[in-house]
């Protein structure tokens, strides 16, 4: 199980590295949306607006990034994978891999966004915590939904329809935590949100782990 997991994870990383255009497309997406925001707003001083815009850009970036998690594998390749690995190992590797990918994207968005429209964050460590927990949570939710959406014809638009209502609890908590981080509010006031996020992450990972085998078995 663990061997399967590490092999699949390294397969994902290698695949991503060989298809550099996909990664490049995501990075370009981040840069160009941040640039659009920059041209529309110039500098954003208002912290709630800055924060909301950042998370909206990240939300759409994450949806685009994870959408290809299962879509890129063709039917034949999935069947081949099915004979090789257990579904649990597959969903775990996808979730961990997407979590890493989303974390990289979120940090890049943060840097580009900060350079272009200004960076009002007063507590970067706390903001980074929000980015890590957000990436893992988004990845846990969207990986399973991407597996669902990949089975239908109109998969990318369906992923946003299915994902956005379900991502909202996560997104609302993330907005609170990151706004606290931007305002420089102390950890004691924000620790509550970190616990909620950890709990949400645990729920999402457990649900995906339990439910994925039913999608896979065909």
């Amino acid at each position: 199980m663990f061997n399967e997991f590490t092999a699949l994870l390294s397969k994902e990383v290698k695949l991503e590295w060989r298809n550099k255009f996909a990664l490049g497309g995501l990075l370009l997406y981040v840069v160009s949306t941040a640039f659009v925001a920059y041209l529309s707003f110039k500098k954003i001083v208002d912290i709630p607006v800055w924060n909301a815009l950042f998370w909206i850009i990240f939300l759409f970036g994450a949806t685009n990034a994870v959408a290809k998690a299962f879509v890129q594998d063709s039917k034949e390749k999935q069947l081949y994978l099915y004979t090789l690995a257990s579904p649990q190992a597959i969903i775990l590797s996808k979730m961990v891999y997407n979590g890493l990918l989303l974390f990289v994207i979120s940090v890049l968005t943060y840097i580009v966004f900060g350079v272009l429209v200004g960076n009002p964050v007063q507590n970067p460590t706390m903001y980074l915590t929000a980015l890590i927990l957000g990436s893992t949570g988004f990845s846990g939710t969207l990986s399973l939904l991407s597996a669902i959406a990949s089975q239908t014809q109109n998969n990318v638009s369906l992923l946003s329809i299915l994902g956005f209502p379900i991502l909202l609890p996560l997104l609302m908590t993330l907005l609170r935590l990151s706004k606290n981080a931007a305002d420089g509010i102390s950890w004691t006031m924000s620790l509550n949100y970190v616990w909620i996020l950890l709990a949400l992450n645990a729920i999402v990972f457990a649900l995906s782990y339990l439910l994925f085998p039913y999608l896979w078995r065909e």
Partner: protein, 222 residues
Amino acid sequence: MAKNWWKAVAVILVLFALIGGLLIDVPRLPILNETIRNLFYHVTMWFAMMILMTASVVYSIKYLRSGKELDDAKAKIAAEIGLFLGVLGIATGSIWAKFTWGAYWINDPKLNGAAVTILAYFAYMILRNSFDDEEKRAKISAVYNIFAYVLLIVFLMILPRMTDSLHPGNGGNPAFSQYDLDNTMRIIFYPAIIGWTLIGVWLGELKLRLHKLRIKKLEDEL
């Protein structure tokens, strides 16, 4: 005939709630005043909706375990009727809000939770309609149903705790639960929940019969 007594009960209970809810003496609470009577309609519909959504998830789990097509049909029908009650609940809540808060919709965690629930179940319906293969549709939408239900419950629990809500029962706003001495409202409230749930079950039974007939017709044609 003996099997249908609960339908009569459903009609009587809902009629009882509709008429009794307007006639009985209610406590005069600040802000709410006479609009507290909406508790008998709006809140009870939401309770019935949650019961039906829970039933839908139970059937989805059953489907994943058994693979019986009928369980999937039941899950779908329960979700549809739950959604119908949810839309009614949002409409009654909205009218109530216009008279109490002065607007049909305000930014409030309870209202947002309601809207997200409705959105997620519409997404479930759209997901169902995007498959041609029935077995695939049943399996995948069951997975989504369970996933969405758990996260929505979490959402409905977390969100109101993060901010104060204007909704009765939150943030020191008066609501019926804080006035436990007043038992007259309970006399209407609980029967209304049972009544709406039974009406929902009745609707579901009709839809299920229609569904079975459709399948039978298809099989006969083959």
